[in-house]
């Protein structure tokens, strides 16, 4: 009862709406709880720290792609080529630094350049996508579909289809190190998601992303440099995919010629289950993160439960489809 009536402001506007919006963010939390319970019933090992850390670590690369895709989707665009960037960026960077004998390109640049080169490659891919989408006014779906094929082809061309094995320790580090008892990659994802959530909520540029996705003409008329923001978002997307590629390379100890292949479907499923709309302007990064966790837990439970190899894909697909339908029913709005 500290009600000290000071300056009379607007008739006390209540805040429940905001709360509701926040609740919608939490829509997947019950699903995660249910999965935790189901997992614990199926196998007590499930709730062990080691297993849960494994689940998180296995989802780190996916979660970075989902982070990238979610921001791009919120800005009202599309990027399918992320799944090729995650392979090409580390492959190209390594090719430039490792010796020819290990399937390098023969340049043998200093090893210290590998990580910067990888990130640079991601950024350049994002910028090139942006160029085609924004300058030529091409559909983002189509541009990035074409890039998906080209980049995968480039990787095969550059490496001759070889897996790259001879990875310098500096490149392996991020995917392997342990910081404060947890894998470094988990920390990195957590920090990047936290930064993303804060940026999209509290930065002018972050709110501009929502405005552009919601109505690009209105955003332009309100003085937002829409093309520049979208371009930056696409570049960040490429950067995050390259970083995911680094983590994956470190975790798996090599760059597979098919690294990332087929991942983009899962990326979209996670983002959409997490409440990000394909129409732009809607959804949160926290929701997208929940989507990633849900998929990771389902995968882990199916493995622990020892589902037959023959049916695992059908069951996994059916669970995803059911989750999508539930996400639709709980959000209560038509999706198209």
């Amino acid at each position: 009862m500290t009600g000290t009536p000071t300056v009379a402001t607007a008739p006390a506007k209540p805040r429940p709406r905001l709360r509701l919006a926040r609740f919608r963010d939490l829509a997947l939390v019950p699903a995660i709880v249910v999965l935790l319970v189901v997992g614990a019933i199926i196998d007590p090992v499930f709730l062990s720290k080691a297993n849960l850390v494994n689940v998180l670590q296995q989802q780190t690369e996916l979660s970075l792609l989902v982070l990238a895709e979610a921001i791009i989707l919120i800005a009202g665009k599309f990027d399918l080529s992320l799944e090729s960037t995650i392979g090409l960026a580390p492959a190209l960077a390594l090719g430039l630094v490792i010796p020819s004998a290990s399937h390098g390109l023969g340049t043998e640049w200093p090893t210290a350049l590998a990580i910067p080169l990888c990130l640079l490659t991601g950024a350049v891919i994002g910028a090139f996508n942006g160029l085609l989408i924004l300058r030529f006014r091409l559909s983002a779906f189509i541009v990035t579909l074409g890039m998906l094929i080209v980049l995968r082809g480039l990787q095969i061309g550059l490496t001759g289809g070889q897996n790259l094995f001879d990875i310098p320790p500096s490149v392996l580090y991020l995917g392997n190190a342990t910081w404060l008892g947890l894998p470094a990659s988990i920390w990195i994802c957590a920090i990047l998601f936290a930064a993303g959530i804060l940026a999209l909520s509290f930065l002018r540029a972050g709110r501009a992303v929502y405005a552009i996705g919601g109505n690009v003409d209105a955003a332009r008329a309100a003085g937002i440099r829409t093309d520049r923001v979208v371009w930056i978002v696409l570049i960040i997307g490429g950067l995050l995919a390259a970083l995911a590629g680094l983590l994956m390379t470190g975790r798996l100890g090599s760059v597979a010629a098919a690294q990332g292949q087929g991942m983009i479907f899962t990326v979209f499923a996670a983002a959409v289950i997490g409440g990000v709309s394909l129409d732009g302007g809607k959804g949160t990064l926290f929701g997208a993160l929940c989507g990633v966790l849900v998929l990771g837990l389902i995968n882990n439970i199916l493995t622990l439960g020892g589902v037959s190899a023959q049916w695992i894909q059908a069951i996994y697909g059916a669970i995803i489809l059911a989750a999508l339908i539930l996400a639709r029913l709980t959000s209560g709005k038509a999706q198209d």
Partner: protein
């Protein structure tokens, strides 16, 4: 006969077409390197090879293109063995002999199948692990894709052998679709669930080796065979990285799939077919056996040696030659 044939390179010898199955695996890339080399040695007029990128529809299209360009014999390595039945029928009707490498068609006539026995791979891996584990304990197996015949052969043989010879061993068979990331995730999960896993069978070293080593390393399990924590690992393929790991004691064995012999004998039989030679079931002059696999098809089952620390430095292994 077809007048449209434009023989490659103005060579008077009948041209032989080669289709490579994929460009994204170390094993097949080695094969691709050996093919022109042996074509030179055998004096064969080889057309520029096509590549079907692991897609049977492309394989069919490539075959048709090779035929229209005048190929008189064809070497192919269909990764998807059911889907070439019609193509084989067509080629047979055009009297173009076919040699398939690595896989045996489910249906249709070929001149020769050049293949190592994939069931034997699974068998050898099983026996090796069974011995090392003394017939009891837990083993994890990274299966290839269920839709690939080689993956299926290895899985079935491994499972049959374990069941009949080592019933005391529990096998966790993990579906991976030939993806390293899936194998790594499955290994992590299983190790958390069953820390007493003592054996690993990887059906393809090219994709599973590095992820497996990474996971073992992060769990502190990458220790020499003398250490009681050591997990016995058998791989499959025979690429140089596997030999490296065997030398370091990180893994214990691999089955060398003979990329060089695949290339050599595929071309050898294609040439023989054009020269009008025929073959009978029985042992050959190169340490292998030709067997009749039904349908009137013959299969030259090349030797696929198990490589362990003892013979890893053998210079004749293809993985030691590149």
């Amino acid at each position: 006969d077809s007048s449209t044939g434009s023989a490659a390179g103005g060579n008077s010898k009948p041209p032989i077409g080669v289709d490579l199955p994929r460009a994204d695996s170390d094993f097949w890339n080695s094969y691709a390197k050996y093919v022109p080399q042996f074509a030179g040695e055998l004096g064969i007029n080889m057309m520029p090879p096509t590549n079907s990128q692991n897609d049977v529809a492309k394989l069919v299209a490539n075959t048709q293109a090779l035929v229209s360009q005048g190929a008189k014999a064809i070497v192919m390595a269909p990764q998807d063995t059911g889907a070439i039945a019609s193509t084989l029928t067509t080629l047979e009707s055009k009297k173009i002999p076919v040699v398939t490498v690595d896989t045996r068609p489910d249906k249709g006539k070929v001149f020769m199948v050049v293949r190592a026995d994939n069931r034997a791979y699974g068998q050898k891996a099983c026996e090796f692990l069974g011995d090392k584990l003394g017939g009891k304990g837990k083993v994890i197996e990274f299966q290839g894709s269920l839709s690939s015949i080689n993956g299926r052969d290895r899985s079935e043989a491994f499972a049959d052998c374990m069941k009949s010879k080592f019933p005391g061993i529990t096998v966790f068979a993990e579906p991976t679709e030939w993806e390293g990331a899936k194998a790594a995730a499955a290994l992590q999960t299983r190790l958390a669930q069953h820390p007493d896993i003592k054996g690993i069978y990887m059906q393809a070293g090219g994709v599973f080796l590095a992820p497996t080593l990474q996971v073992l390393k992060s769990k502190g399990l990458l220790v020499p065979p003398t250490d009681p924590k050591h997990i016995f690992a058998v791989s499959n393929d025979g690429i140089p990285q596997e030999y490296e790991s065997i030398r370091k004691g990180e893994i214990d064995a691999t089955v060398s799939q003979p990329a060089d012999l695949y290339a050599k004998y595929a071309l050898f039989y294609a040439k023989a077919a054009l020269d009008g030679k025929t073959f009978q079931p029985g042992p050959t002059d190169h340490d292998s056996t030709i067997v009749d696999v039904g349908n009137g098809n013959l299969e030259d089952q090349l030797a696929a040696p198990l490589v362990t620390k003892d013979n890893v430095d053998d210079k004749t292994l293809w993985g030691n030659q590149i």
